[in-house]
Homo-oligomer: 267 residues x 6
């Protein structure tokens, strides 16, 4: 798939329902050429927000899901041997910088140190990236934006972003939307009627409000949409809630029973 | 063995005896293009279930047994040098995506972070996989299904799936089947008469019901089938139970003695 | 050494003295095409048993001593460059599967996860092995048998076989043989007279019966044979016991003294 | 970008506002050819100081952001294959030594041992660097300066610089500037009026003075400049403070609330 | 140095003074083709003993100093590219096996698992070594002997030889020799008169007899020889004792002072 | 830089002021062909001593700064591809052995096991080094000397030299020189007058004498020379003491204040 093809694709604006002043802040940061960090729990719409912002500005979106194995070489590119010739192949960071794309590093705290350090000159007034292997410095094209995400709920001591990294990013805190907005999102994305969406959101809010269950993370909007899709496909609502919401949340038999009771109350 | 050969093979539908509403849920998730996670203990039929689902839909089944050493390169493919030419060789994930096969990642929690992350775009509405080394994005063919398994009994702190991974999968909880069904399975698979199957299942249920033995995992249906096969081959039932069930379950001399007593009561 | 040469060699049936019903169980498992795990302490005859079984069936024996460094590539084979050409070289597992040999993985618990996982499809009804690098699936030839060994005395928490692995194998528990049988083994293998063999076995049984010495493992039949060989070569029996049995068992000066006293009582 | 181009670039002298006697000490150390270590918290101007010193002396600035993955090979250079020929490519340290540039190793304590050791002969009277792979010793050109930075706040036991490394560097301790100077910096860099700058600095000083919040690092001048830029771009001051200062500093809801209250008092 | 050259060298029989029945036991083990393990503290003559045994039998001695980095590839050999051709290069183990040499693995407990495992077939009745990379099995030539050393004083939990390895070797326990013999060794090796040798040995025996100093290892014969050589070269005996014996034994100022006092009493 | 060039360079004898009987001992050890270990704190002149000894004997000095990443391959040499041909490139150890140079391994305790083991045959009567990759044994040329350094203050449990390594080296304990000698060194090296040197040494001795400050290492002669150079260059003495001595020694604000007070008393 060529870069052109990807641009066209990003041009199909994804559905995004604003839940606060996040668009306003993003626009100000983008205008001031400041990088942005989105923090918040699983499945609350961070990735979708960036996709919508990229589409709104007609920019390609280049996403990197960070993990322990991603090295700076993977991001910056490498020499590969192709049919006897040695050719340079850009990585996602260099491609995004050249193309003036939106670069989105999902779950930045999972990345290794050398990845974070490579981003430093891209995140300040220099807006450039050094490719040591080519002895080349790429100045980011004008529309380029650096965006990263971070889930504070995961970070337990070891994998925390250092303050010197955190202080480089304008930071938007995301959370699950209010009931009316979440209902609208569930109904729109899964094509279910408002009644089903309302019951699913009510169920979610009851679980979120109860701290007793000891869940590592709580019901996300993403889970509600999955359950709604199964219901739309004909599955009994309680069974849909069990397989799409309850079982993904816990393996503890007592917690599963309690969540199933709560789902039974909703439907 | 070519891909065609594999498809033919999968077309031989394996014996699978449904034990609950798992087929109904799978069909709804497959229709909604949602990925599926099977959770449950060793030897309760998770792999066999997926094999049956793939055969029912006339799809090839591509299985990956996850482990610490599996890297994203192993899954996505690599360039190999063959007779002087450099050719691309798909890995199981890319092959399954192109072929519209059922991709089954067994014991997903054993895999490294980079493997989990590679699956992300395949597990949501995008249904695509990025191959950075080729700068290629493969959209999964229409019949493609992403299925994974997970044994909650194993995960002790370190190797747990993150909530952000768990929440991507419709989750089916498996357990050992009811007595009548299990008896039918043992008799069918090992070709023993109903009496032997009944005694083996009775023995298994007694052991499963007794929490005192401190077993890491309990008697699985797989073990009953192995013992039944040895009996069918002429081994004395008590000796068959000892070598096929008791000794695989424990190395503790007291536990072994207690299990042998229970087997002696059954036969 | 070619495969043919190895087969001829295996055909020289090694001395093996049965100590229980292990041959009967092995034959039943082999007939049912079920894999076999031998568990028991050091030097009690596990490896020799498998060598005897392979010879009894006229099959080549392919042995792999498992360790931390053994990778699945080592077992399955690799492409090697030979005189400008790239040729495939089978590893022990693929060679054994093609040749219908007995494959014996000694101390399986020492192997890495990726090795255990490679064996999975060989250990169930599929009896096949996938070679990802060649995109090839090898169906094991008819006489193929998968055998592994495991010493429960070693496994201290970290290196334990997972239940899902254990439950794949019919399990034979080995222990040191009864006095009369062990005496016969020592006399036969070291070519000493019955009196020397009897005293060595008496010494061994005294040490095995005394739990006070805190030995990590106790006197094995292998050690008795070594001492007997030194005596046969002319060394004084007490000195032979010291260097072949006592010093290999402990570095603790008090334990060494106690063991030497016990040896002095025997001779 | 060629070395020439980089030199021209460094020649554009960056804005730097001295806050103590740091320039005087640097000049004395540079005259005596002694290397310099800058220690101090995040965002207090260490990197900018070195950029200003390099510009003042008309020297190129070569910056290396140290991290766990940086090896001595990355710093010294490597042989690369280019169009069939093997050519040597200098790394940042060798390039800086040859060019008589200012070499700046940011966050030296993050580097591996082999990196620190490579710098030893550059940091004493020898002023040379050994390139083992080429069997070459490069004497640093006359204007060369070795500068490193270190943030004592980060180092928790494991990643501390050894005394034998520390004692090689003349050490300048940096801290956040006095109110009047910091105000001048914020107003100049973000192009806001003195009133906004004053309020931002007042807010910063209140937070820095309160030890109760348990922040890992406190408000840096860098954060004030970011907030000021967002205000200059039209964002409401309280919202600008929240996204540019408060959210980057903490994920604790109570701390965030307290910081937002402090920001509300300032504006 | 060719193999021939090495053999000639080994033929120069090194000075070795027997201290017990070690020669008798070695000869019996060698005649029975049993491998030998030498255990004992630093510098008590283990390596010299093996050198003497090899010379006595007119065999080449191939020594491997085991360590964490030694892999089975290092021992068995590898393919290397020489002038365009790929040639096989034997490692020390394969070379020793082919040549019928004495193979001595010093400090075997320092070696990795894969090294120990490679030795297994060489240490039992098979006397062969498998080279997987060549698919070759080398039967050891007739005079071949496998000898290893082990220092029980070092092994603290982690790096212990497993019982299954220990039980493969006839084990000779070494200790420092009796006073008269040690005196003879010191005088012979350093070419000092009997008086100096006597005082050095007296000093050593006093230190060895005092358990109070908390030394990790005590004065070895090797240290006495070094001090004697310095004295022979003209250094004052007390200074020679300090630099050759006391300072190598401890960095604790009090212990150093106590040891110097003991040396002063001797001279 | 060729070996010849290096030899010429070493021939420029560096300034070294003996502080005890270290020269006498070194000469005796060198005459007896015994290797030497220098132990002592940072910056007390160990490296300079070896440089002086090498120069005194007209020998090249080859220095290796040991660290975790240094492998035996780095020390012994490797095959490199140069213009299509494969050529052997000696490493520092092999080059020093062939050239009869002084080989100095600085901070030996930082090196990995395989490095220490490579040195063993160089450190005893064999005076040779084995290069496995070339199957070559190099006998050290006649003037060759093996010297290593070690800082006992650093070694905290993990990175200690094993007794079997320590006992191979004649050991010289270094410490900071007496006041008069240190004063002479400071005045000579920094070209300051005796008054400044005296005050600096007085300050150093006060700090060294006070155990209360909890410094990891204390004021070295090296630090005094650096401060003296800054004073010679015109910096105020108190400021010179702060940046060249106090700040490199501690990051603790109270300790820094106490040290600055002590410096103020000296000047």
């Amino acid at each position: 798939m060529s870069v052109l093809a990807r641009n066209e694709r990003a041009a199909t604006r994804p559905y995004y329902r604003p839940v606060g002043r996040e668009v306003e802040v993003f626009e100000a940061a983008y205008a001031a050429r400041l990088p942005v960090l989105l923090k918040g729990p699983t499945g609350c719409g961070k990735s979708r927000f960036i996709a919508a912002m990229a589409a709104a500005h007609g920019r390609e979106l280049v996403t990197v899901a960070c993990n322990d194995e991603t090295s700076s070489v993977d991001l910056l590119g490498r020499y590969v041997v192709m049919g006897g010739d040695t050719v340079w192949q850009d990585g996602p960071v260099t491609r995004a910088a050249r193309a003036g794309a939106f670069l989105y590093l999902d779950e930045l705290a999972e990345a290794r140190e050398d990845v974070l350090v490579v981003l430093h000159p891209l995140s300040d007034h220099r807006r450039e990236v050094h490719v040591d292997r080519r002895d080349e410095t790429i100045i980011a094209a004008d529309g380029f934006a650096l965006c990263v995400s971070f889930n504070p709920g995961y970070q337990r001591g070891l994998k925390e972003l250092k303050p010197s990294t955190r202080q480089r990013y304008v930071t938007l805190a995301f959370d699950y939307p209010e009931a009316a907005i979440e209902q609208e999102i569930v109904a729109t994305e899964a094509a279910v009627d408002a009644g089903v969406a309302k019951r699913l959101v009510a169920f979610a809010r009851k679980v979120r409000g109860s701290g007793e269950l000891g869940l590592q993370e709580t019901v996300s909007t993403r889970l509600l949409v999955a359950a709604a899709k199964l219901i739309a496909g004909g599955l009994a609502p309680r069974l849909a809630c069990e397989v799409a919401i309850v079982q993904p949340l816990s393996d503890d038999l007592d917690v599963v029973a309690a969540l199933k009771d709560a789902a039974a109350l909703a439907f």
